[in-house]
Symmetry: C2
Subunit: 285 residues, 2 copies
């Protein structure tokens, strides 16, 4: 059991971590750190945290397990202060959707008489944000990436893995660069692709009422993630430019090929394409 779990940033993810940790007796005390006392009080009332402070140094005092639940660039911004004020015995992790830059930055600041930083990225969340949407089931059976490299102390890695497992998640250990490559295809590229579909459709020059009438659940599901907050996705994009651009290259190539086949009425190829896509998608269920 963790004596003091410190959650920096108590939104959808941070709040859900607090709720789950308390429900599953993962932590004795959960401390929330944030900027807005009203939002923190809401988190306390919801049962996501026991106490809160707006002072980072105060929050980190005696912290045993510390988790940064902020947008990726604010994680990077906060790393120096967190490194400075965390107890040397503490484990620090995060929930950032990119890992290479964060882990590289952390390696300059942690270890060597300071706390240990190990990167995490739980595949949980939604297009909604805010502690009001947090639940104690958000991490149930969700994959959670945990990063490893030559610098990682394996006993601490084991504790981070155990932490996520105790919240119901399924830890998946990999290197930061490998993480950024994989999620560029499974998540970030998909976000830009869904956004492009929504934008192309919304920009048709048709009346909004008409557009609403002519879409079904297929369109809605396919483009739902485009409702995500642009600031969050912009930050993620800035931290993973190369791989996201490569992912979009793969998507546009695939789309251009099938477009050509359709234009040329090469229906054998169209059928093979549709069958391959169906098989590959079914395989993922």
């Amino acid at each position: 059991m963790i004596k003091r779990l410190v959650i920096i940033g108590v939104g959808l993810l941070g709040g859900s971590i607090g709720l789950t940790a308390k429900k599953k007796n993962v932590a004795e005390k959960v401390i929330g750190v944030g900027r807005n006392p009203k939002r923190l009080e809401l988190a306390r009332q919801k049962g996501a945290i026991d106490e809160f402070t707006t002072e980072l140094a105060t929050g980190l005092r005696d912290g045993e397990f510390i988790i940064l639940c902020l947008p990726v660039e604010r994680i990077i911004e906060f790393l120096p202060q967190v490194a400075e004020h965390s107890p040397a015995s503490a484990i620090v992790t995060d929930v950032g959707s990119t890992k290479k830059t964060i882990v590289e930055e952390a390696e300059k600041l942690f270890g060597d008489g300071r706390a240990t930083f190990i990167g995490s990225h739980p595949l949980a969340g939604s297009e909604k944000s805010g502690v009001e949407f947090s639940t104690s089931t958000l991490f149930k059976d969700a994959t959670c990436f945990v990063t490893v490299n030559e610098m990682t102390p394996l006993d601490k890695l084991q504790q981070v893995v155990k932490f996520w497992r105790s919240l119901g998640a399924r830890p998946f250990i990999l290197r930061p660069d490998r993480h950024d490559y994989l999620v560029s295809m499974s998540s970030q590229g998909i976000h830009f692709a869904a956004s492009a579909l929504a934008k192309a459709f919304g920009s048709l020059g048709e009346d909004a009422n008409l557009l609403r009438l002519i879409i079904g659940t297929g369109f809605k599901d396919t483009t739902r993630i485009a409702k995500g907050d642009e600031e969050l996705w912009l930050e993620i994009c800035r931290q993973n430019v190369q791989y996201i651009a490569e992912a979009l290259d793969k998507f546009t190539n695939e789309l251009s090929e099938i477009k050509e086949a359709i234009k040329n009425r090469d229906f054998d190829r169209v059928k093979t394409f549709l069958a391959d896509a169906r098989n590959l998608r079914q395989m993922l269920d």
Copy 2:
């Protein structure tokens, strides 16, 4: 109340029409016509139809309202026989996902002492098929396109509109060509785009177990429709080549533009793109 509602093809859509028509007292008797007596008996046991036959001419005898619930090319294939055997007073409609070719074919065969054909396309269904998945709520609040042109008798049009409304759907009257244009963007192009995403991801050369682990609900929702039956979508594609190719052009252009912005680290443009996409998608809810 319709005396004899004839459903040709009792699958997901046909079965759901039967279930709903019986539940809402839209028809006195529902006749199912199909090829496979076992499947038809299943539909009867489920309450989707009252009687069935594998003989089209027998099924159409005394039919008042006749609806073809078949894949688009089989609709076209069956139109001559349906025109031949339907009572002259009958109304014939369909559920095909394309309308221009079907209506053009029907105009050669119906009217002029024969039954009246009016095209329909309810925006309902799923990647599943078969009468076992049919429900009496499938059409609730679903848009249903109903086609009109210079040849359409307005009293019969009104009856088709009333039919769909009585099943809980929201009829939307438009011209066949306009229909095919709109659904190429809202449905068919989206299907090919989701398929391209699933195919590009599934073809990464990574282990299937790994791919399953690294996808979240975002990926799954965005690519879910790629699980649809390739034969159905191939037929739809063959009937709407030009507009689907144009829709894919719009998507690839949008995707290429944002890819260039990302590569050039033009993050102002990336942010505007993401914000536009979010606004347009939210507008559609």
